[in-house]
Amino acid sequence: MGESSLAAAATLKNQHPRSAVSRYYYSVFCAAHAAVICRGQTLPRNDAGEEINWSHVAIRGLVETNLKTRHPQYSEGVARAYRLNLESVFNFRLRADYAAQPYTVEVDVREAEKIAVPFMRLAKEIVHGVGPANT
């Protein structure tokens, strides 16, 4: 789903930049879930016992904690940078989906892409157990 959203964002970014920003966020949201689950975290459950997504705030914290504690090659600063990047794309997405007045969304598209593409690469490395995830 994350990769599909990333591809959709690339397709949309010129004609529908707000939708592209939203897709970029969803791609990192999915990628973050995949990476965290692969490192042994269990999805939360609702009152009916069904698995649900982590909240937008929670997933960012889990990514940072996971990188800091399980991947010692990532310094605290780098782990924090990933959290801040996830926060940024979430903020871009809120603007894209809800801001009533026009703004220069092209900047957000460019920055969202700069965050989403490498984050997807990182998540895939963790999910597939190559590179950083092996240490």
């Binding site: 809120l94 801001a99 957000d108």
Partner: protein, 90 residues
């Protein structure tokens, strides 16, 4: 609504001061909503809104992260600001 531990005594005064005096916060009309500060997954989560509608998310995020880092340094607390979709009514 506050869940989890009580809000530390130094958090709101630091945020009040910062949001009134920090140049970036003032320039972008940043405000926070003290009613919805929550402790989530080890971080104090603080909803923030901007009164400057045309600002893009990149500009807002840079300002929010700047203020967030200053707040963390001043309070020695883990803080995460997040952008709200609605401007606070108070």
């Amino acid at each position: 609504m506050v869940s989890g531990p009580q809000i530390p005594d130094n958090l709101k005064p630091a945020l009040d001061r910062l949001f009134k005096t920090d140049q970036e916060a003032v320039r972008l009309g940043l405000k926070y909503d003290p009613r919805h500060i929550e402790f989530q997954y080890g971080v104090w989560s603080v909803p923030v809104a901007s009164g400057i509608a045309p600002a893009n998310g990149y500009e807002l995020s840079r300002a929010i992260h700047h203020v967030q880092e200053v707040a963390e340094r001043q309070t020695n607390l883990p803080i995460s600001f997040f952008l709200m979709t609605q401007f606070p009514q108070n």
